[in-house]
Symmetry: C2
Subunit: 319 residues, 2 copies
């Protein structure tokens, strides 16, 4: 059983509910578990009716279970301010103003949001791995962030060549500045090279850990669009060496009782039939097993309802 | 009544169905109507069970109605190849290779997709405005494309300054090359300036037409996420001077018969109640009227089903 478990899928399919239910199963089985939510709309605070923040906190009423909430907006903000500070140290005021405009625009691009979130997820993986047996995320790398995983190979040669060049120029600088008592500048303490090395190492860690110590589940709903998107997500993850462990079909419409008749029962039967076809299509066209079918609920999934969902989830949490 | 009608909303809410139903109403009322679909997953070809392509074609069995399909993937491709060709004319092979890499990456960004699609939508607006009384799109400008509408003001001063500079340098070039019998280069036939002017004019046209001769409807489903997204979309459009005419709530769960009892009826009643709350929330928090509530259907909406939806739509198509 991998230490890290990711539940991916489009907004609204129910990733946070499924992640919470899975984390609950892990905790009930005696594993020290942390569930990390990244969805501001339907957060783990709603599920457990308890406020969570950026640091792990024990979940009241559940042993072995802690939760935390990442606010992606705040992460984007911090991420971009970070870049700004670094830039400022290197360039003139005119350029800083230009950078401000660019940052303003970058703030609105979906890529910035995902990149900042992924960055934070990697940090949680690094920092919390020792304290917990299981860390469960209600998000998985998507197209844009998966590309970051190939950054280490891409950066590898380039960083090495850059270091060589930087060494030469720093050497010349050193000779010109001789006798000025300045601290010796080397590639080792050059801030740009330091930053590049750091990034390279971070994504190396992420790629290795995601490939060797993580399980991926995709949550979908039994409709055409969701099945098609899940098929594409499985392909994308595969292209980056990440294989999906299972599919969780959520929000499955319940069948009426056998003796029910009328407009409502007719509608439900037709709908159940159509959803069955969609699930069959998913099973035929996506090379990943459907590990759970979770019934649609009309109320918020909290408290005892979450235990019900956890029971329906039926993913093995041991071995 | 505006000439252009846009139906926006997140993927899967049913924009194409609603657009087709609305176009059908316009055509039935005697207006020459073109419906333009941009969704490859659920296209207008599926709705009318007739293949449509990149040019308007009459819809079989319906007077005054034509349809066309824009393939956004093909548009991105064409758009980027266009940029590449232009660049090649200006720069060296080394740079072209670098551009190729950038284009490869740009291809995968969500922004490229939306920008190319919006470009094509503007072209359809320009080319088909005279031939039809009504042009209906199953897409509306989103966050990324709305930003393009402020491009003309942004580009305005800059293009003028650039032209001045370009004039000066072309003038110097002219003096140096005197007697070489080359055609006289001026800012008027400079390809870069031409391109900038063209873009400026295009987005000026788009901004003006969208503000003065277009109606916007947002399609949503009666769930929390969809309501929240619609609220944000209304705000975004408002920031760019575009006001939303109405909201169309699609996929509303039908109530069971009054005398139905059992698990199915209980589920449906609870669900109907919850959806009513969501629609009430939309009405209270979004300053745009709900103009239609369309019942959820279990089958594909085609043929006679589309007429039913058109009847439920109840948006006035005349005046």
């Amino acid at each position: 059983m991998a230490r890290f478990t990711f539940f991916g899928g489009k907004g609204g399919v129910g990733k946070t509910t499924v992640s919470a239910a899975y984390a609950l199963r892990c905790a009930d089985a005696g594993h020290e578990t942390l569930v990390v939510s990244t969805d501001p709309a339907h957060s783990i605070s709603d599920v457990f009716d308890q406020p969570f923040g950026d640091e792990p906190e024990p979940v009241t009423g559940h042993e072995h279970l802690a939760a935390m909430e990442i606010d992606p907006e705040a992460e984007v903000e911090a991420h971009l301010m970070d870049i700004r500070r670094e830039m400022e140290a290197q360039v003139s005021q005119v350029v800083v103003n230009e950078i401000d405009k660019q940052i303003e625009m970058a703030h609105e691009t979906p890529g910035a949001y995902e990149a900042a979130l992924f960055d934070r997820v990697i940090r949680v993986m690094r920092e919390e791995a020792d304290a917990y047996d299981r860390v469960v995320f209600d998000t998985a790398p998507t197209g844009n962030t998966l590309r970051l995983l190939s950054l280490p190979e891409f950066l590898g040669d380039w960083v090495e060549r850059l270091i060589e060049k930087r060494e030469t120029s720093l050497d010349l600088y050193q000779k010109a500045a001789i006798g000025k008592e300045e601290p010796r500048k080397t590639a080792e303490n050059d801030p740009i090279i330091h930053r590049l090395r750091e990034r390279k190492e971070k994504f190396e860690f992420a790629g290795r850990t995601l490939r060797e110590d993580a399980d991926f589940y995709l949550v979908l709903n039994p409709d055409e669009l969701s099945v098609a998107e899940t098929r594409r997500a499985v392909e994308r993850l595969g292209e980056h060496g990440l294989s999906v462990t299972g599919l969780v079909v959520n929000k499955v419409t319940p069948a009426p009782d056998e003796d029910e008749h009328g407009r409502g029962a007719d509608y439900l039967r037709a709908r159940v039939e159509r959803e069955r076809e969609r699930i069959a299509e998913a099973e035929e066209t996506i090379p990943v097993p459907v590990v759970a079918r979770i019934a649609s609920r009309t109320g918020e999934v909290t408290g005892p309802l979450l235990d019900e969902v956890a029971a329906e989830l039926g993913i093995d949490v041991d071995d």
